[in-house]
């Protein structure tokens, strides 16, 4: 068994209000550490209202965005949103930020030349504004002139970065309060190591940086069909960049076949080539015992929090309850 870690729930703006509302109403009693709200750009619910609604419907659980692309919102809006959600949650809010997926951004006509610099500038600017400073600042996507939040009181909002590449991971180790990671197990190990090593180089304590792992969790023990799990994994494989795949000891021919099939046909067709090994590498699925075993594995490489997230289908409410119960039962001291 691994050391202590939290189990959290991930929701996305593309989910309907009845599902996100149920999770908000039950997150405290389930014992979730955080409810993370992912923004599917321009789809479904508005991310900040969903986060606010989740905060007002909960009492103890932390609620965070996971993640909001800094490139699609005015930086002043992000600063104002942070302050507002922090007040609504009375300190329970965490701001998960990132650059956004390249394809998503291109679809919205956004091109960033220096993403690492952009993310660093955004974090520094937000923290200065929350500290009460009046700011003149420019970047690739924002320009502030004599702007401030009119705050006398300093607001300290934890910033989590949703990142993937080595430079971004190093930046996270230097400046963030936490990291939100997604990817196969070997990649996660590498990513956590990179964040920690960068933090140490910056003179920080590695334990001051939370490591949140959000990978597809598919409880096939409660109604959700295994073919759904394989379809999700086919899609994840298709979206996984080459440098990440290079770290894995998987059969590249098999992986390439899936990527080609997804691109040429559909995730459903690609799913036919996803075997049990790939299912286990790219997702956490199966029985509740197996899934919690995998949570423990992820925690053993340094993750401080594991997120149970979409797809929510089948009897997902019951599955969530059972997963939290199973996890809690393993932590009871006898």
């Amino acid at each position: 068994m691994s050391g202590s870690y939290g189990v959290s729930i991930g929701i996305t703006t593309h989910m309907n209000v009845s599902a996100t509302g149920w999770i908000a109403k039950n997150a405290d009693s389930l014992g979730a550490k955080t409810v993370w709200v992912g923004e599917d750009i321009a789809l479904g619910q508005e991310a900040f209202v969903l986060t606010a609604a989740t905060l007002v419907q909960t009492k103890n659980v932390r609620v965070g965005t996971g993640i909001i692309p800094v490139t699609v919102h005015n930086i002043s809006t992000l600063a104002r949103v942070g302050l507002t959600l922090d007040e609504i949650g009375n300190g329970r809010f965490a701001f998960g930020l990132g650059i956004g997926g390249i394809q998503d951004l291109e679809r919205h006509g956004i091109k960033i030349k220096k993403p690492v610099t952009e993310l660093r500038n955004s974090v520094e600017t937000l923290r200065s504004l929350w500290a009460g400073d009046t700011i003149d600042a420019t970047s690739e996507v924002f320009a502030l002139r004599g702007y401030d939040l009119g705050q006398e009181r300093k607001t300290d909002i934890p910033i989590f970065l949703g990142v993937r590449g080595p430079q971004m991971l190093k930046l996270t180790g230097k400046i963030a309060n936490g990291v939100i990671l997604s990817g196969p197990f070997d990649y996660l190990r590498y990513a956590i190591k990179t964040v920690n090593s960068s933090a140490e180089q910056a003179g920080r304590n590695i334990h001051d940086i939370e490591k949140v792992v959000w990978v597809p969790t598919i409880p096939t023990f409660k109604g959700i069909k295994e073919r759904v799990a394989r379809r999700v994994v086919a899609l994840v494989i298709a979206d996984t960049p080459d440098p990440v795949l290079d770290m894995l000891t998987v059969d590249r021919e098999k992986v390439n076949k899936i990527r080609e099939t997804v691109a040429a046909s559909s995730p459903k067709e690609g799913a036919k080539f996803v075997d049990d090994e790939l299912l286990d590498i790219f997702s956490i699925s199966g029985t509740k015992n197996h899934m919690v075993d995998r949570f423990d594995d992820v925690a053993s490489i340094g993750a401080t929090e594991v997120v149970i997230g979409p797809p929510f289908s089948g009897e997902w409410r019951e599955a969530l309850v059972e997963l939290f119960e199973e996890n809690a039962s393993r932590r009871v001291v006898t």
Partner: protein, 305 residues
């Protein structure tokens, strides 16, 4: 007449919620949650107000479709309604040009009206097609925006002066009459109390100056304010903000035409006159809702009517 009060101007969220509960319990019909350049993000504040209140309507705005995309505006209105019920209205308008420039949002003067009205039409249509029942208002001052507001469910005029309001209503009624259910309201800076030293009362004077400086040039010319307003605009550009000098340069006489400032008796007379003109909503803009006393005063006056 429907009474509403603008909250979320300078207060912390907890202060805003306390005032929202006074409004909800003691009987004003509506809260308007102001947005940029105020600090707190209005849609999230509206969610918190909805959770803490049960019956008052909650207006979100003024929201600028130049700062937020139409998609985001539709998304936050639909999420609010899905999560908290059909209690929400929306007020759109271009927003404070100087404040937007300071955050890198540059408006081209000529395109602003077209862009705002285009966004209004798209937002209203998308909300309707989605089955969301909420009124979409346009905040208007100049003739093009006033006429454009006929594409909305209603207009909130940024005027307090009865002569200016009458002129705006004439613009609205030029040509086609507004539809029967079209809602006409005013949303001026307000202060109920002693207004003998108007210039010195920074809260109401600053709000009035902000409205005056943003005045459409056609209207400014028509009513003979142009010289004063142009001078004040230059000063704001140089200083980067509205200060006492700017307020003094506008002078009492002009400022008083851009805010309601008077006793409770004067307020009652004023709202009765508005009703006779065909105005069905009065939104009490800042500084009235900035203090809890201000909100309680409104509630008392309303109860005594």
């Amino acid at each position: 007449m429907r009474w509403g009060v603008a909250l979320n101007v300078r207060n912390t969220l907890s202060e805003t919620l306390r005032k929202a509960m006074v409004v909800d319990t003691d009987g004003l019909e509506q809260i308007w949650v102001t947005d940029f350049p105020t600090i707190r993000y209005a849609p999230a504040v509206a969610a918190a107000i909805a959770e803490s209140t049960s019956s008052c309507r909650i207006g979100v705005g003024l929201v600028s479709p130049i700062l937020y995309s139409t998609t985001q505006i539709v998304q936050f209105m639909s999420t609010l309604i899905d999560s908290f019920g059909e209690r929400f209205d929306l007020l759109l308008g271009p927003g404070d040009r100087y404040a937007l420039t300071n955050i890198g949002v540059i408006q081209s003067g000529k395109q602003v009206v077209g862009q705002t009205i285009g966004s209004l039409v798209r937002i209203r249509n998308e909300l309707r097609e989605g089955g969301y029942r909420c009124s979409t208002f346009l905040g208007a001052q100049g003739p093009a925006m006033i006429r454009g507001s006929l594409k909305a469910d209603g207009v909130l005029l940024n005027y307090s002066d009865l002569q200016l309001i009458q002129w705006a209503l004439d613009q609205l009624r030029k040509g086609n009459q507004p539809p029967k259910d079209f809602q006409i309201g005013v949303f001026p800076p307000t202060f109920v109390g002693n207004c003998r030293e108007f210039e010195r009362d920074q809260g109401v004077a600053v709000s009035a100056a902000m409205v005056a400086i943003g005045l459409n040039s056609t209207v400014a010319r028509l009513f003979g304010f142009q010289d004063h307003i142009e001078r004040a605009k230059r000063m704001v550009k140089e200083r980067g903000k509205i200060n006492l000098e700017v307020i003094k340069s506008l002078g009492d006489e002009i400022l008083q035409r851009f805010a309601f400032c008077g006793t409770s008796d004067q307020l009652i007379n004023y709202t009765e006159t508005l009703e006779r003109l065909g105005v069905s909503q009065m939104v009490f803009g800042p500084p009235q809702g900035v203090t809890r006393d201000g909100v309680e005063d409104l509630v008392k006056i309303r109860a005594a009517l």
